[in-house]
Symmetry: C2
Subunit: 186 residues, 2 copies
């Protein structure tokens, strides 16, 4: 039998995909095991806390990715308009132009909401804040920026729901285009 020494990081992509496709309750250890090519022994070696720790790690990784690829640029980049443009690019890539679902959003709507409330809340709150800040730096007044940021987040999440429900990724792409256009016009 092959000994494939792996580390936690190696299984994260597969783990993420399983939770994204099946939700928390739907992702059984059996399924996780076969998708990661890891026995329960290994799984519990890397995640002593079991399924809950696995899901939490996935949320953490997603949060970290967005932090470096989206939130931080929104806060730090000199040109806020450029940062916002990059945000849309990153979002489009991440959600595979609407073919992928937002795990955090799915968790928020489902039964995993309470269990991971803090991480789910943080994801959206931090994004909202970073975007609002960038909009202010781009010249919007505080109130408009607040409204716009909330609107953008909701539109992204909602269009992902629609894309998935109607089996039409175009819903997501069109939403992104609309949002870009709206944020560009001063």
């Amino acid at each position: 039998m092959p000994r494939v020494v792996s580390e936690r990081a190696d299984v994260m992509p597969a783990l993420t995909e399983v939770f994204r496709e099946h939700g928390f309750e739907g992702a059984s250890l059996a399924l996780i095991g076969q998708r990661t090519n890891l026995g329960k022994g290994s799984l519990y070696h890397f995640f002593p806390g079991g399924k809950e720790e696995m899901a939490s790690a996935v949320l953490g990784e997603i949060g970290a990715w967005f932090e470096t690829s989206v939130f931080k640029p929104l806060r730090d980049e000199n040109d806020p308009r450029r940062a916002i443009g990059r945000m849309f690019e990153a979002v489009d890539t991440y959600f595979r132009s609407g073919q992928r679902v937002c795990l955090v959003g799915a968790f928020a709507l489902g039964d995993a909401r309470d269990r991971f409330a803090a991480q789910i809340h943080a994801y959206f709150a931090v994004w909202n804040d970073a975007l609002r800040g960038a909009l202010v730096r781009a010249g919007r007044d505080e109130e408009t920026a607040r409204t716009l940021a909330e609107e953008v987040l909701a539109a992204i999440q909602g269009s992902l729901v629609l894309a998935r429900a109607l089996n039409d990724p175009g819903s997501f792409q069109r939403a992104l285009e609309r949002l870009k256009a709206r944020l560009e016009t001063a």
Copy 2:
């Protein structure tokens, strides 16, 4: 022991709430039984197809409610602006001003997507169509109406996600106000 003769319709509200709160996988028969005050025997008497038929019935009832309370008025009412206003009222009531989640949206994002693809698709497609039609009758050109309808549906769904994630029903209410304002300005 009390004999409480019930019919299918009596258990629908409780059934709906269980699926809404726990999703398809998360709603166990034990949970369903205690929330409906019905033993498995009765449950299987009313829904021979088991959990799947229960969830399907719930989706059907939701669809029917929206059909008579939202879609049909959008299509048939003489004054399309009035119909749209009523749609927002109905939606606000139905989702308890953002404290309730959209079961159809939650199913669309989760693992129940494939199982109930047809019903999920129909819900959004019919709504989209009815709203687009009303917007055209209200004076919008075909293309604007199509875009606006899609935008409204996505905004509603997205703001429900946000409301739930941020634990702030206000996200939903503000979204509804914004949408109302946007659809009123010709």
